[in-house]
């Protein structure tokens, strides 16, 4: 490969480089730029500009040739991504296709990726619950992984910082396991969900809660968000297409344009990061080597500080591929633990049923969120034969249907006048904490390289006995809660999905107090290379039961301020 570094080194030197433009990378870049740091953001995929590059966002249902369905040929060519619920005709251009970016499944793993400016922030489920100390103290109390080097108090103000800017709607529920935050007005639960929440309080003496889930949607204070060029969520529920209103938080609508406005951000799409350059004499990282996605030429960029936010597994890949004589096994990997202790969220089980009451009611309009059960298992003490617990999603819906049994004018009139209200359908899904283990890992497959000369990532991640027990417990407990609330036709399901489809893969570059047993310190710096920060899912020591993106935003903002403070010392 030709190395055409014709521009001089100075032109390719910045104060900071951020690898990745998704949720965590864009937060790091925004904070750095606001603090006056000349920042280069590298993104391996194409550019996606807010609104302009959302080709399907205002399309009507009949404008999709297959009315949303994915053609069989595409499914056959892309079995992994085709299993993702959001991979539909309206958003498939934002997903990585299996064929284009192969990886090695030592054990079956659905790796769902979004390679473009904004990454998966265009596609995420926008659920933003805070962690509490019940989560941070988990590993130390229950004796797995290593102790988190931080606690809630370290993150609290950063949660507030990112919530305010991103826009988070929710209610102040006053639950100790789920701290309240800086909330815009919440979205009310519907009449049946409220009824269920009341029943739950009664039946379990106030120890279990079902609340309206906090979500990253603008539901008030429109003037404040107008500064970002964003406005109120319009309840379209078409978020995966990209939102022209900026109604939900994405890097594209919020943090990236904000960072660009400072004049301190240089955005470089189509830059596939090969490795972080380590200078043995200086004893620190000095830059990043990339391969241009289109020309395949290599180029180097330099900076004092490097933020690695390539998304959990790709951040592992970049570090593992960053070898030098000081770090033959990957950057910062003195203890050999890089890539190990990968974990995820267990979404395998669902419970559903019907509610025969509230027959005279239905709902109208749209909403971007639904109900949420914070974890109630093993919170104050160990009470089951498995470790940790699960959160759960919850919703009640009532559709209006038409009878389609007939034919001719009878059928036509029935279709055009839908008036059959079925019972309320009630559904829940689990989101279980999985325990990080050395045996769940990612590694390089040096025998195979991709189009850009990168070794393929080998993924070896699986469920364990703890997960199986937790699935059973969720099914039993949720069924019991349904039953006590008078819900009937209760059905439990285990969809046996393979890991990865949760799109909550975490770890491999975990934080910890001790360099012997962790890769990152309390400030997200590599113990051995402190001018490299990792603030995405790779840094997770344990997984808890919240959708993780809000925590990555807080990590990135906190670490960016730390890096700037360090540079001034």
């Amino acid at each position: 490969m030709a190395n055409l570094n014709i521009r001089n080194k100075q032109e390719r030197t910045y104060q900071a480089i951020v690898i990745g433009s998704g949720i965590s990378g864009s937060w790091a870049a925004k904070e750095l730029c606001e603090l006056g740091v000349k920042t280069l953001m590298l993104e391996r995929g194409r550019n996606v500009e807010h609104s302009k590059d959302y080709p399907t966002t205002t399309m009507l249902p009949y404008e999709f040739e297959h009315r949303g369905q994915i053609p069989e040929k595409i499914k056959e060519e892309n079995p992994v991504v085709s299993r993702c619920y959001a991979f539909r005709e309206d958003a498939m251009h934002f997903f990585v296709k299996d064929k284009e970016h192969p990886y090695v499944q030592e054990k079956p793993f659905d790796w769902i990726r979004g390679y473009q400016v904004g990454g998966k922030s265009l596609l995420w489920a926008r659920q933003v619950q805070r962690w509490s100390d019940f989560d941070f103290e988990g590993p130390a109390r229950d004796g797995f992984a290593v102790d988190w080097p931080i606690r809630y108090k370290d993150l609290e103000k950063w949660y507030s910082h990112v919530e305010k800017f991103a826009g988070v709607s929710g209610f102040r529920d006053g639950i100790d396991t789920l701290p309240d935050g800086e909330f815009l007005p919440g979205y009310e639960l519907n009449i049946v969900e409220k009824h269920f929440a009341d029943q739950l309080k009664k039946n379990y003496g106030g120890t279990r809660h079902m609340i309206s889930a906090r979500c990253a949607h603008i539901h008030g204070n429109a003037e404040y968000y107008a500064q970002q060029g964003r406005t109120l969520c319009q309840n379209r529920n078409l978020c995966q297409r990209g939102c022209p209103f900026g109604g939900y938080f994405s890097s594209n609508s919020s943090t990236i344009p904000w960072a660009l406005k400072t004049g301190n951000l240089t955005l470089r799409p189509d830059a596939v990061v090969h490795s972080i350059i380590y200078d043995e004499e200086k004893g620190k990282a000095t830059g990043v080597r990339i391969v241009d996605r289109l020309t395949k030429e290599t180029e180097e960029f330099y900076a004092d500080v490097i933020f690695l936010n390539a998304a959990a597994l790709n951040s592992n890949l970049v570090l593992m591929n960053s070898t030098s004589s000081r770090f033959p096994n990957g950057l910062g990997n003195d203890n050999g633990l890089l890539g190990k202790y990968v974990a995820f969220h267990n979404y395998r089980a669902q419970v559903s049923g019907t509610w025969e009451g509230h027959n005279e009611y239905t709902t109208s309009g749209g909403r971007p969120t639904s109900g949420y059960f914070p974890r109630f298992r093993n919170v104050y003490k160990q009470e089951t034969d498995f470790l940790r617990g699960y959160a759960a999603g919850f919703s009640a819906n009532r559709g209006v249907r038409s009878n389609s049994d007939g034919i001719g004018m009878e059928l036509k009139n029935s279709l055009l006048n839908p008036d059959q209200f079925g019972p309320w359908y009630v559904g829940s899904h689990m989101m279980g904490e999985t325990i990080p283990k050395e045996s769940n890992f990612v590694a390089l497959d040096l025998s195979q390289k991709d189009e850009w000369g990168m070794p393929l990532l080998k993924v070896s991640v699986d469920y364990d006995d703890n997960d199986e027990k937790m699935i059973k417990d969720y099914q039993e407990q949720m069924s019991e809660m349904f039953e006590k609330a008078g819900i009937t036709n209760i059905r439990v399901n285990d969809d046996h999905r393979i890991p990865g489809l949760d799109i909550h893969e975490m770890g491999g570059v975990r934080m910890g107090k001790d360099p012997k047993t962790s890769l990152l310190n309390a400030n997200h710096q590599l113990h051995a290379v402190p001018n490299v920060y990792v603030t995405d899912g790779a840094s997770m020591t344990s997984t808890s039961t919240q959708n993780p993106s809000l925590t990555y935003m807080a990590f990135a903002a906190r670490a960016a301020h730390h890096a700037v403070a360090e540079s001034k010392k």
Binding site: T58, L60, P61, Y62, E63, E65, H66, R67, Q69, I70, P71, E72, K73, Y187, E188, L189, N190, I191, E193, K194, Q234, N235, R236, N237, L238, E360, Y361, T362, T363, S364, G365, G366, R367, S404, I407, G408, M409, L411, K412, N413, L415, L416, N417, F421
Partner: protein, 190 residues
Amino acid sequence: MNRRIALRHLALISGGLVLIPSCDFSKEDILAAYENLKVTASQKNLLGMISDTIIPAGEIKGALDLEVPDFILVMVDDCFTQDNQTKFTEGLASFPDYVKNASGKKFEDLSTKEKEEVILAGTKLEGDDTDEGKKKAAVAYFLNSTKRLTIQGYMASEYIQTEVIPYSLIPGEYNGAVLISDLQKPRVNG
């Protein structure tokens, strides 16, 4: 997709259908727009009659007015597995014989009521392992798929979603407790 659109445009310009000539002159040419299917122009016409029986024209347009047969063939061509495509086209090919056996007439010669009855009865046919049974199963599969796709293509058409039951890209603020008795919707007469 682009190829199909090009073929459609060509058909419009040339004022006719673009066909793949069959080598066997005793057979009818195959429509080129549906790459994975062997469907002739007369079979497409038949499909049109069936879909128009399922949702006929009246005060409001019917399935044929909205080019639903084309939608059906696009969906079968692109979104069905190969096995199901085979079942669908076999069912379509067997349909005329089925109608003849059931009613003694050609489909186009039946009254509206007879057409409706023969389709509904066809959706309920049960097959078995014999050659006849396999044909029955294919006819039932074809008719059920056609009915489902006719409903989908009709309801999710531009005409219905703009002129009859307008689709809203902005559905409005959520109301979680609406009394059904408060919902006033004028009845649409098809």
